[in-house]
Symmetry: C2
Subunit: 320 residues, 2 copies
């Protein structure tokens, strides 16, 4: 019995719709909305029997499927154990991202520490004791919890979501959309990064940031500004000892992991950058990634789910 | 700016429906199904303005709301950092639980190790190298992926679920239900414990177990046997270094956390037991816990979600 690699899917097949069915669904879709398999993908009978591994889907991808990370929209957080790479989302939270970059370029975070790790919730870092000057950064940044969905590219998921009328992807980020309200917002999936705030909606300024390390805390959606996503090194934040204080804050007697530095990637010499690219979510390749998660058909899976949660879809990242 | 305790809800209020509305919904409910607030709870206008903290809800609970853990249905896994307490679910997976208890009582796990930690997925332990005899335990246990929902108590959640027609709770476990099929199954929420298996559905025997440490991997539902839930010490499993091998298995050069022992609580002297009780999920107190998660109304939250995922509801545990 080969249980060493057992029970977990050793192969992660992707299933694609038959082309005619796919194009039919595209025709039915709203303008500006791409369709990931449609409801037809939800039943066993309607999916094609062409299992592809996730690896095979990605291996067959075209260079144009991949978007290199923009060094001006990327942060490197250097911990003793390694580098955490954060892809910023200024298209959705321009003012918060601007303020964070001002802080970073002043060296604000260098020598600070991870201050909070709450199990199944968040890892948080920054200046818990407010000993540092914000310098040229704003002390209060207006809330960017939601944004207009007009002209925002949106690759919709066909499956129902508990929290929002529609969910999908835009610019390689998970987002939710309320079409009647013409509003959208970033979704608190695993590895998403946000801006700590006090009760006042404008009280966050980026001097405290958090990353989601557990079940998606979707109740935070539309209540706090998300600014990006950890695309490499997430395990360095998720595997830290949980804090013993209230809300998972470290107590004075607990050692804190220091932040050696946070840098904007553009400020790091080219030779020292992490050269990463993220899969574009408006591509056919990403459709196949999604379908591979909706219906797993390798021999391990006996009942394909036929559905997938927006937070259960990986947004692939690779070296370029 | 008190950001040290900011952005995360410092108070976790619970909201209850007005009593007449609640009883109205109870009247409308199907026989044998309890209702947690109903759809009426989903809108701001229909929830009462009586914020209660989760702590207040639990402080107001009655002793009868709490179910002490049954020592015959509880495992203690002793790691160097402390004890992990697992509540077993023999009502849903009797044969797997029986086999695991046979293994445990033979000392099968003592001196083995954590063998796999895959970020945002699972921590797995057991005998990866298959060096040990299973003794009197079965080598193959029939799949217990689903069970008849007939006569299974079910506290339904009113909110839609991506993966299942209905979700809710039974015996302090998260479950899903397909009423037309009269079938139900345990749900892969954070901290749920399952039985590793190979491709053959009957190949699992309990000699390798896993706990969920990230976003609920709901695609595993109905594909593998769940046997319980970690009710204390989950952070000891979730904060371990991620394995560098394929699927998060530790490589030979990585140190493994040893399992000092696994015991059935009933076999441990009374004085050394963890005396815990879990909140019954068929109580009014639990309704209030759920409502506190569906609509958070403390001053930090600006937009209550009005909905909640089955895996975002804590099932409270306390010392007794």
């Amino acid at each position: 019995m080969l249980q060493r690699t057992s029970w977990a899917p050793r192969r992660v097949p992707a299933l694609t719709l038959p082309r005619p069915l796919f194009w039919c669904l595209v025709c039915l879709a709203l303008p500006g909305t791409s369709v990931l398999g449609g409801q037809a993908g939800a039943t066993e009978a309607s999916v094609a029997s062409k299992p592809l591994t996730l690896e095979a889907v990605l291996a067959a991808s075209k260079p144009s499927d991949w978007q290199p990370l923009d060094p001006e929209k990327t942060l490197y957080m250097q911990l003793p154990a390694g580098r955490v790479v954060i892809q910023l989302a200024p298209q959705f939270a321009p003012r918060a991202v601007d303020n964070i970059k001002i802080l970073v370029r002043q060296g604000y975070f260098d020598g600070l520490a991870i201050e909070r790790v709450q199990d199944n919730f968040v890892t948080q870092w920054g200046d818990a004791d407010h000993t540092r000057s914000l310098g040229k950064a704003e002390h209060a940044v207006p809330a960017e919890f939601i944004f207009s969905s007009t002209n925002v590219p949106f690759t919709i998921l066909p499956d129902p979501d508990t929290y929002a009328p529609e969910v999908g992807f835009s610019g390689s980020f998970p987002i939710a959309r309320a079409p009647k309200l013409e509003r959208a917002w970033l979704v608190h999936c695993y590895a998403m990064v946000g801006v700590g705030r006090d009760d006042d909606v404008d009280s966050g300024n980026g001097s405290e940031l958090y990353a989601v390390i557990g079940q998606a805390p979707r109740q935070l959606d539309r209540n706090i500004t998300l600014v990006g996503r950890v695309v490499q090194g997430m395990e360095l934040l998720a595997s830290l000892p949980r804090g013993k204080g209230p809300l998972g804050f470290y107590t004075k007697s607990e050692p804190r992991v220091p932040i050696e530095s946070i840098r904007v990637a553009a400020d790091v010499p080219e030779s020292q950058r992490s050269h990463l690219a993220v899969l574009r979510t408006d591509t056919h390749t990403f459709e196949e990634v999604v379908e591979s998660r909706r219906n797993r058909r390798d021999s391990w899976y006996k009942v394909p789910a036929g559905r997938v949660d927006v937070c259960n879809i990986p947004i692939p990242v690779r070296s370029r």
